[in-house]
Symmetry: C2
Subunit: 385 residues, 2 copies
Amino acid sequence: MSDRGRSRDSRSVGIVTPQVARFDEPLRLACGRQLKSFELVYETYGELNADRSNAVLVCHALSGHHHAAGYHSEEDKKPGWWNECIGPGKPIDTDRFFVVSLNNLGGCHGSTGPNSINPDTGKPWGPDFPVIRTRDWVHSQARLADRLGIDCWAAVIGGSLGGMQAMRWSIEYPERVRHCVVIAAALKLSAQNLAFNEVARQAILSDPDFLGGGYLESDTVPARGLALARMIGHITYLSDDAMASKFGRDLRSGSLGRGSEANAEFQVQSYLRYQGSQFSGNFDANTYILMTRALDYFDLALEYNNDPVEAFRHARCSFMVISFSTDWRFSPQRSREIVDALIAADRPVSYVEIEANEGHDAFLLPIPRYLDVFSAYMQRVGDDA
Amino acid sequence: MSDRGRSRDSRSVGIVTPQVARFDEPLRLACGRQLKSFELVYETYGELNADRSNAVLVCHALSGHHHAAGYHSEEDKKPGWWNECIGPGKPIDTDRFFVVSLNNLGGCHGSTGPNSINPDTGKPWGPDFPVIRTRDWVHSQARLADRLGIDCWAAVIGGSLGGMQAMRWSIEYPERVRHCVVIAAALKLSAQNLAFNEVARQAILSDPDFLGGGYLESDTVPARGLALARMIGHITYLSDDAMASKFGRDLRSGSLGRGSEANAEFQVQSYLRYQGSQFSGNFDANTYILMTRALDYFDLALEYNNDPVEAFRHARCSFMVISFSTDWRFSPQRSREIVDALIAADRPVSYVEIEANEGHDAFLLPIPRYLDVFSAYMQRVGDDA
């Protein structure tokens, strides 16, 4: 491996290559519609052991994808999104575990989604792609587990929307999950969470280039709306403290209020504009709408008399719940609701609130105590495997 | 007065009529430009006493205007924006005080602003209207005080951006203010505050109907951008708690995820959409940009070595500072920074943090302890007058 590959990061999984699994048996969805067939793109890191007991499923969040660790080529500068947590000697230790990370159904990174061809029309699905709910992801992930010969996951793990998938796994397939790691998540969105998602979607829907979702056929993209949606999201991922220490009120130039609004004057403005424009070049608007709706609809206990204790009584696995002190998107209080319900449901649960300045984003970052606690729990998962 | 006028609200100031003051002496602005002349629209409530010592200036916030109390006609259904606090027997008691409330320079409710005609071109100013800072408002308000024969305000009062004007008054014209009431404000915006304003402005700027601010000449308005900006703002005005108790996850219809995104499914979505569309029909986009920039630029201590203590040493008045427990736009911590600086600068200050569920919006609402404390302080102001 060259200087630019694994050697620049001795604890990297190195070069990885996505794979595609095609499923031709129809998948019935929670919305009542079905997909006749679908594809999932995924990556694996580490080796499946002989008794197939060391497999770990990593579920991604709103704008995530299958590329969670390592690099796609020697020239690739940016590793996968959870490279801090997946690799040899890292919390999800690829020397011990066989890690599976996929792009969820409805995504825009290779799995069947709004950009795929609808076999009934020969055109991209676009806005006609079915509404997807978290349970649909879990069911499609179970198909992938079947395909890989994994009867039971050593652990299902996710942060944010990924943590919601992990919880859903624990009650949809209790026999197929030994450990569930739920990071920076919640049992359901609050009204404020819903409100932010609504504004983000409205930004996309009201972009004239969205064309009711049919932008692909007109060879355009609602770049302005997507950028706004990302900017709104980004504010909620960072804590007020993190923004203060990152930018404060630092100016890009010397003085205020003499220029035109077209020029960003505060550092935080140009940062947000950059984040927005990067995202709008890399993400699909219909997928963004689909993902935020899945987030909105997630309500673990809805079909269990709105009682999360009743919901978790169906689970058979052990749980690890992690929250971050300055996360205001899914605050520690939301994690404590999960923990309280698990305890009342008599499920084994470990909980830790990590002191971290970085807000919701902390779950992606190499915060020492977070990595230590996560590693210690995964050690236990490995000992069970 | 009819059933529909003052009698429906025995503590109303009744029917009020806006007045216009025209100023023909040029006003030099902080940005270096000047306005050759300008007009301010204002309302007054109560009577100026013989020694002109009972005048109170009310400063408005981001989207406010001169119409703070009473009704504009017998048919008028909605009173002024601070009707809860201004009127006979209310905290700003019009039986004791002569209250002046104006639309700020740059506004869109009658005072000179982007919608006014630029005398040099004969066309609306639009985006060429000068950048306005809080101190410019204070200077223009001082001109209005001169016109009304008010040498010294009994009190300058404001919430949010209005509180910032009140603080600026206290150090720009120390001899002209006896009391300063600063409600739900801050010494300057945080990076997170700046970020929200940036996204709101970007929503407007990226609306194709904004036309670089020249929409008036094309007989259009950037309604989508303004609606988004208002939705974003609205989320920050309400606490998570307030949203939870107002909407929770209540649905507009029975089931989830079967409809199209065009239909709001949660109550909070339709509420935000309504707020957005109402606002976009009533507010000017160039003014919104101007007001948010004034908010961004406000930094009380910037010219005082970034030391608010040094800034407040120039003040001569007494202060009342009020914050609200669930306000996360300008949290109680931000008010305590004001109070700490005032104490260090040896200025008399009373401070109260009101327990209230309603977030930043609380300053507009009839919360009993808030009204009581505010009334008690204003009683003292009146005794001094």
